[in-house]
């Protein structure tokens, strides 16, 4: 490492600012490493302790769901970041938050509360449906978020509004709806807090099935369409001119992103899920220079950071989402330092 540091100091004398950044990054890394060396025993203990946590079913579930969601998010993230759609995950997670709160609020609908002019059978049916949505809000949320993903894509392709403005518009509106609905019904309770910041306790058995299904779909589609996804990401006009249906691929990416966000947001939290999409791709782009290397490295970084973050969450009782983002940040700094030193 000293050698690398020296190279960072000696090389690129024409770019003092870049050199300063590299030095700062290496200093941060060195401090972290030193801290790690002095606390080796504690870190080893953490691994042992984490092993004990694996006996719990909810931890195993969270591990499976989280690893798969991280994998999907990182693959999608490479094209999203390169196509300048980084914030789409953030926007969609806010929409997810809004629709989750609405779904919860539907639990307060009763047959007696509905307008009297409706037939009694219909009132019962509506109340039953609302109760069902409140009991199991995931399918409802999925539908809403997928619809919003298509809407976002259409706005940014067909209208004069720019993509980033459209995302900001939709995400803040959805958040506002969520906050209003929450304050009118249940108030800020533990559920809402968990939606915002995530919880590893949130994973149910059905989430495991959904996330396994989702990640198989994302992986298979990504591999099968890899050359075309590259072509559309690198140069959409050229891809269109050579007969690639770029619009369909954008649609597909948006759909898969929506699914990934909805499955991942209850563990990572609304405010942090987009980091799963952005961080691994950005870190990889600092070091690797081919699309394939960036993709593979993103997938590995994402799953590894998730595992470490999860361990921190269990052992140091850190909020899961925040822990994973913190680990991703450290990796980003490390990769930036390596990239700047090269």
């Amino acid at each position: 490492m000293g050698d690398l540091l020296q190279r960072a100091l000696l090389k690129k004398s024409g770019q003092p600012r870049r050199r300063a950044a590299a030095i700062a990054q290496w200093v941060v890394l060195a401090l972290l490493l030193l801290w790690g060396l002095f606390n080796l025993k504690a870190i080893g203990g953490a691994f042992v302790e984490f092993g004990a946590y694996l006996g719990y079913r909810f931890i195993r579930r969270a591990l499976v769901v989280g690893a798969l969601v991280s994998l999907c998010a990182s693959l999608l993230g490479v094209t999203l970041v390169l196509k300048r759609y980084s914030m789409i995950g953030d926007g969609l997670s806010h929409v997810g938050f809004g629709s989750l709160t609405v779904a919860m609020a539907l639990g307060f609908v009763t047959a007696e509360g509905l307008p009297a002019f409706l037939p009694a059978g219909l009132r019962g049916g509506i109340a039953g449906l609302c109760g069902g949505i409140a009991q199991n809000p995931l399918p409802f949320t999925l539908v809403i978020v997928v619809l919003c993903a298509f809407l976002l894509l259409r706005i940014s392709e067909r209208s004069r509004m720019r993509g980033d403005s459209a995302i900001a518009l939709i995400s803040t509106s959805a958040l506002a709806v969520g906050v209003i609905v929450t304050s009118m019904t249940s108030g800020m309770n533990v559920d809402v807090y968990n939606y915002m910041f995530g919880s590893i306790l949130a994973m149910s058995a059905s989430d495991v099935y959904i996330s396994v299904g989702l990640s198989v779909v994302v992986l298979v589609l990504f591999i099968l369409f890899y050359p075309r996804i590259f072509a559309v990401t690198f140069d959409e006009p050229f891809a269109r001119a050579t007969g690639v249906r770029a619009g369909s691929y954008n649609m597909l990416i948006a759909l898969l992103t929506a699914l990934t966000v909805v499955v991942g947001m209850r563990m990572m939290g609304t405010l942090l899920i987009s980091s799963l999409i952005i961080f691994p791709a950005l870190s990889s782009m600092r070091v690797f220079s081919s699309f394939r290397a960036v993709t593979i490295s993103s997938a590995i970084i994402s799953v590894a950071c998730f595992a470490v973050g999860m361990m921190l969450s269990c052992v140091a009782s850190m909020p899961t989402g925040a822990g994973i983002v913190a680990v991703n940040l450290v990796v980003f700094i490390a990769f930036s330092a390596i990239g700047a030193t090269r």
Binding site: R240, T242, G243, S290
Partner: protein, 233 residues
């Protein structure tokens, strides 16, 4: 029969006519330069030739072995591309995407084609290098190699020397001339750089929504000797 024939093509966006009743043909081995002021519809015309915009009226006929989607296109570079992590090989190979049909992956003949074109444009030595670390001229050559993977017959170039320094631009025109003369590739180029583009051109099309002029480069010089101002006045 010509490679591409535009017959009375009119293109309009929300009522604004961008291209007005344009007819011309591009034959095998042609070198056509499309010139005109900003907003004269020359880029729109090129996008129509590629099938990216639909004409409101008129017809675009492909012939002489040329198929729609088998045209080599060199679009203007976007800001996103300049820092895109992709090796030169990946970029060039992506030109083969229109030969894949229902296949999901590149096959041996795709890779051979990419290798040939990388050698032809002298970017084979950069194949593992990242596209973003190349100079402007090298990037354009890599994109040309990609365009050649998509076609044997015709290249469409949209403002190809924008952003290149004079030396790189001269070199680029030489590459285009060699592709046109030695390899029989028809070239259609939209350009602002009149003096450079005209040097090797065979035919010229002057766009001003409608066609102001279409013909050989000598006729063009004879008519527009006193400059574009008079031509449009």
């Amino acid at each position: 029969m010509s490679l591409i024939a535009m017959k009375d093509v009119t293109i309009a966006f929300e009522g604004d006519v961008a291209v007005d009743r344009v007819s011309f043909e591009v034959d095998r081995g042609d070198y056509l330069v499309i010139v005109g002021e900003n907003g004269s519809g020359k880029s729109t015309l090129m996008r129509a030739m590629l099938g990216l915009v639909k004409p409101r009226s008129g017809r675009i006929l492909y012939g002489d072995g040329l198929v729609k989607n088998r045209i080599g296109y060199l679009p203007q570079q976007t800001a996103a591309q300049r820092d895109f992590p992709a090796s030169v090989e990946e970029v060039v190979l992506s030109g083969c995407v229109n030969r894949m049909g229902t296949r999901c992956f590149y096959n041996k003949s795709d890779r051979e084609k990419a290798n040939r074109n990388m050698a032809l444009l002298d970017v084979a030595k950069f194949r593992r290098r990242s596209y973003r670390t190349l100079s402007g001229g090298q990037q354009q050559r890599a994109l040309l190699a990609r365009a050649l993977c998509a076609t044997e017959a015709m290249l469409l170039l949209d403002e190809p020397v924008t952003g290149l320094d004079p030396a790189a631009a001269t070199e680029f025109y030489e590459v285009i001339r060699s592709l046109n003369r030695d390899h029989g590739v028809a070239v259609v180029m939209v350009s602002h750089d009149l003096s450079g583009a005209m040097r090797d051109a065979g035919k010229v099309l002057v766009m001003n929504r409608g066609m102001d002029f279409f013909g050989g480069v000598e006729d063009y010089r004879a008519r527009f000797a006193e400059g574009m101002v008079k031509a449009h006045g």
